[in-house]
């Protein structure tokens, strides 16, 4: 019997003919030179972008899975955020002696945006170690896992927007031209979300203590960053020194460039300067780590 003979027409065993991609030789070599490492890192990002439809589908499936079998599905996200903001808005407006009409829109935008930041740091620090199965079963670009976490959380953010919209309908802010700056701010948020996910994912893959450390840092950040409270509320108290520190809080700048225009504030150049500086540092740091650690990821996870 000739084992190399072509299939004799038996059903169910023939291979379907799909167009083969133009095969190009892939060379994987132990890279000791910086130039090679940088090239492979950018090649990884390029491959991830070519697989964008996969990233998109993976993120959608993630959300679908989380709510599979539930009646409201992903709209539980919307509902639970809405209930929380509704309840907290009235309680904290009383506690801080604020006018509900002014406080509720502030709280709604702050909490929704902070929710995005804190989830992205938590899920980011496990984005590679959690994908160990996929990483060990096939050669995939590692940035794909970071992009997936980023996109998934953008979807979650989109589900929370109706809550902000409803609050704005009840207590409309006075939008100005500054509202246009929401677009570049969102672009910067997306870029930063990817960078922070990749950076924390790499560190978290190597050092398993990172996720809980990140968690506790974010908890402290929640209280020292103006999220539930705004600096204006504390102006009349004698805490000038503590407030000066806010200008150096990386989360404050990021929040302010997106929250300010949504609440009808004028363009805050100081916040933009803060956000751009920290973003530049974050992106450069993230790329440096990736160039250094990319080849080691499968050994770490």
């Amino acid at each position: 019997m000739n084992m190399l003979a072509p299939d004799s027409g038996q059903t169910g065993t023939a291979l379907p003919r799909f167009p083969k991609p133009a095969s190009k030789a892939v060379v994987i070599a132990a890279s000791h030179s910086l130039r090679m490492r940088v090239a492979s890192a950018f090649d990884d990002i390029g491959q991830m972008l070519r697989l964008w439809s996969l990233v998109w589908t993976l993120s959608l499936f993630d959300i679908k899975l989380r709510y599979r079998g539930s009646l409201l599905g992903p709209f539980w996200l919307t509902l639970s955020t809405g209930v929380m903001i509704g309840a907290m808005g009235f309680v904290y407006a009383q506690l801080f002696r604020q006018d509900v009409a002014g406080y509720l829109p502030f709280l709604a935008t702050s909490l929704v945006l902070w929710g995005f930041i804190s989830t992205i740091t938590a899920e980011g620090s496990t984005c590679l170690s959690g994908a160990a199965n996929a990483i060990h079963s096939q050669r995939t670009p590692h940035t794909l896992h970071a992009a997936r976490v980023m996109l998934r959380n953008l979807f979650v953010l989109a589900h929370n927007l109706p809550v902000i919209a409803v609050v704005f309908l009840i207590y409309p802010p006075h939008f100005g031209w500054s509202l246009l700056s929401v677009l570049p701010a969102l672009a910067l948020w997306t870029l930063d979300a990817f960078a922070v996910t990749l950076l924390l994912g790499l560190i978290g893959a190597r050092f398993r203590d990172v996720p809980p450390i990140v968690g506790s840092i974010m908890q402290i950040a929640f209280y020292v960053t103006p999220i539930m409270w705004s600096p204006d509320m504390l102006m009349h108290r004698n805490v000038g020194f503590a407030l000066a520190l806010i200008d150096f809080n990386p989360f404050y700048g990021m929040l302010q460039i997106l929250r300010g225009p949504l609440l009808g504030h004028a363009l805050d150049t100081a916040a933009w300067a803060n956000a751009l500086c920290y973003s530049a540092v974050l992106i450069v740091l993230s790329l440096l780590f990736f160039v250094r650690a990319r080849a080691r990821v499968p050994y770490w996870v």
Partner: protein, 262 residues
């Protein structure tokens, strides 16, 4: 034309944290005294040491060797998953690796959803995804199960899905670990037919197994791995004769001839 070239490849695992699953495997692999130290004095396990060989169109290579000889690591390295510490791998052609039955599948998702993800990874269009789903459904014989989450499948069904998926996307180079033998007898026959079609249309097959009869039937070249190095490289009969005790070799030969004659 498919080509796979391995030049002076070495792979070593640093021992960072003891809880890593793959690390545990490598610690077991260290039984053969392959602990070393890297330049920063971290303890490492040398999984592969200076391995070189080249494969071309039509080659059907089998790996044999004791547990922890480096077979699976070598397959993973050939798939481009582990990048070597030293040396170079050149791959021409689309590679598919069947390394564990899970196949990086998400067990919470349905069979069809997993097929879609795999197809998107290979850059397929919507029409091609449909076609792939039909083909996998037919070959794996899973029927309505494809619309259920994979976690509800029996382990044999998972293997069938993984195998159908990996071969349906027309790999030019197929790397397989021994778990494929988990399929039932009827499936094994079907799988062999499909692989033969694939190898017949001039592609490369690399198989790691402990079953000499399977290796004799499927391979035209064997590499005997020992302690992360190539111990012997040659024709299946020649290698198996050296590797196996004489009585087991005769048994395996008889079993292989029996299947070939059937």
């Amino acid at each position: 034309m498919a080509k796979l070239q391995i030049e002076n490849v070495s792979v070593s695992f640093p021992l960072y944290h003891g809880e890593s699953r793959s690390l545990k495997k490598t610690v077991f692999a260290a039984a053969s005294g392959r602990m070393g130290q890297d330049s920063k004095h971290r303890i490492t396990v040398e999984a592969l040491r200076d391995v070189s060989f080249a494969l071309g169109t039509g080659d059907r290579l089998g790996f044999i060797g004791s547990n922890g000889a480096g077979k699976t690591t070598l397959l993973r390295t050939m798939a481009g998953i582990y990048e070597p510490v030293n040396g170079k791998i050149t791959i021409e052609g689309r590679v598919t690796a069947l390394l564990d039955p899970g196949q990086g599948m998400n067990f919470e998702l349905t069979g069809n959803e997993n097929i879609r993800l795999r197809a998107l990874f290979s850059g397929y269009s919507e029409a091609q995804i449909k076609k792939l789903q039909e083909d996998v459904a037919q070959f794996a014989d899973l029927g309505e199960f494809l619309s259920l989450p994979v976690r509800t499948y029996s382990s044999g069904m998972v293997v069938r899905l993984g195998f159908a998926l990996a071969t349906a996307i027309h790999p030019q180079i197929l790397l397989m670990d021994e778990w494929i033998l988990a399929g039932d007898a009827a499936f094994l026959g079907k799988a062999r037919e499909r692989l033969e079609t694939m190898v017949g249309s001039a592609e490369i097959l690399v198989l790691s197994s402990h079953n000499p009869a399977i290796l004799m039937q499927w391979c035209n070249r064997l590499i005997w791995m020992e302690g992360g190095r190539i111990r012997m490289d040659g024709a299946p009969e020649e290698i198996l004769a050296a590797y196996l005790p004489p009585d087991q070799f005769q048994q395996a030969k008889a079993a292989a001839e029996q299947v070939a004659a059937a």
